[in-house]
Symmetry: C2
Subunit: 303 residues, 2 copies
Amino acid sequence: MLAALTQTELIAVLVSIINYTPYVMTINKGSTLPSGPFELRHQSLQLGLRAWIHEQTRYPVGFLEQLYTFADQNRIFNHSKIHTISISYLGLVRQQNFKLHETEWHSWYEYFPWEDEQNVNIKNIKRKLVGALYQWQRQKIEDAETIKRRIDFLFGSNDYSWNEDLILQRYELLYEAGLIPESCAYIGQEGIDVGLKMYADHRRILATAIGRLRAQIKYKALVFELMPMEFTLLQLQKTIERIIGRSLHKSNFRRMIEQQNLIEETGHITDQYRGRPAKLFRYQKSILDAREMEGSKLPLVRN
Amino acid sequence: MLAALTQTELIAVLVSIINYTPYVMTINKGSTLPSGPFELRHQSLQLGLRAWIHEQTRYPVGFLEQLYTFADQNRIFNHSKIHTISISYLGLVRQQNFKLHETEWHSWYEYFPWEDEQNVNIKNIKRKLVGALYQWQRQKIEDAETIKRRIDFLFGSNDYSWNEDLILQRYELLYEAGLIPESCAYIGQEGIDVGLKMYADHRRILATAIGRLRAQIKYKALVFELMPMEFTLLQLQKTIERIIGRSLHKSNFRRMIEQQNLIEETGHITDQYRGRPAKLFRYQKSILDAREMEGSKLPLVRN
DNA sequence: CCTTTTATACTCAATTTGAGTATATATATA
DNA sequence: TATATATATACTCAAATTGAGTATAAAAGG
């Protein structure tokens, strides 16, 4: 059976950490996620993407996981109406001694300011967004009540609590409401921080990646792909906090880490300029090296 | 930028329930998963697949979720060396008054007998498989110890406990060890039940689907897509038990269901031929109808 | 010696989980 | 009518986990 022909494109969300903060690699001054074609010489999608990332960026990618595949009408090639299939991947790049180019790498939270707990204006940003969402919702004739509850549920208003994993759902709600510049229904709003715009649906892909990482970090030992080979417990905690976008309880965090037996002391200590030096740890690849098999639980504890 | 051309194929894992047992739709006497081309007229992948399933089967598909996309060397078209991209989906079909064709639908566990707790021979089957795996592992020169632990971890031997979500990882291990007929390294083994063979990598796709469903059923209200509109608590419990492949504690199960506020009484009762009639319930779409937003927790309790 | 900064050690109540027992209700059948 | 069968329902209880604290120790700088 002969299927219609399509062209295939691979889109990578490469994540690394700078100063405890998750960054994503972009091109075109932060507006576009890097992407490349899937070529005949490539044996498989994974290998194709790895080869391509290596050639183009030289960044060392450890963990690489498929996110989602889509093909919509916007992706039509050159009048000839060939569908483009886009397969998106999440890749983790370990922070190391090499310098990441600041023009290429951007903090997650430039695109999703309402997701960044550490932003001092976060409450204001969220309040304004929820206000604008309510305004949109009130104009709805059908399902107004349902949409109201959806807003409250997603943004943690009215007795609902904030769930950081739902970043994609929040983005989609804002998109629907016309608050996102990429949306065709966009209505400009004064004084509301809706984050940096991206090309086509790249911001949605980024949201998918962040959501996946936030969800998986709770039961897989993924953080260690992002940490340097040696790290202190506080560094580990701060990195996780910035990824999931909320703060953790210090001693409970340590209790959990110890229980899981995921890391071991290297014997070295940090040379701080101030304060008590911290012990350095390394990830103990543990007894099992297949990454999918390892479970690690994060305490969902606020500070 | 012009990417190489590919053809795109959609593969569906359609799941329904017969007599509490999960069944999957096949063609060619149980050897092949249904698949169809992604055509130009289709607006999106989801819609394309829905249209195609409707045309071909008329089965009503509710929940539909993308599983995985792959393109490997085996999938080369007609000497011309065009890659075929296969995008697989999991679809749930509600059990209803229509009859599912027994030739088309097969129980999951015909393909994965070692995953079926209710099989009276399960212990024997597992024991033989683990034995054969050990035998393969002992011939390894490198990493023999690691592989041993991987076997124990995945099959719950030697102090490890069985984790039903890891069905794909178990299948892959058996495949690597040459115990699966589909494997190029297959070595025939007498008297070991390795389940029904499938075309190409369809059994791996099925394993992916089952793993996804087993994992998601624990935090999403997915079962209700498979249940009839009215059902008893015991029917619900039995269905879940057969899906995850292990039994649950009755009163704890009920406690959990009540806490979640997921269902409501219909006011009707069953007309049994024996025993006390059971109350009938219906799924309460609850206050939120976006399926992704609802959380439901299953008690991971053995009976 | 005091301040800063991080590590470490404990406590404790509330909640959740895993496992169990006992009893009630309806029907079929001996 | 009594008994077996099959299901529903109601409780109990210990163990483990979780969320949130407080207090103290150690190392280095000024």
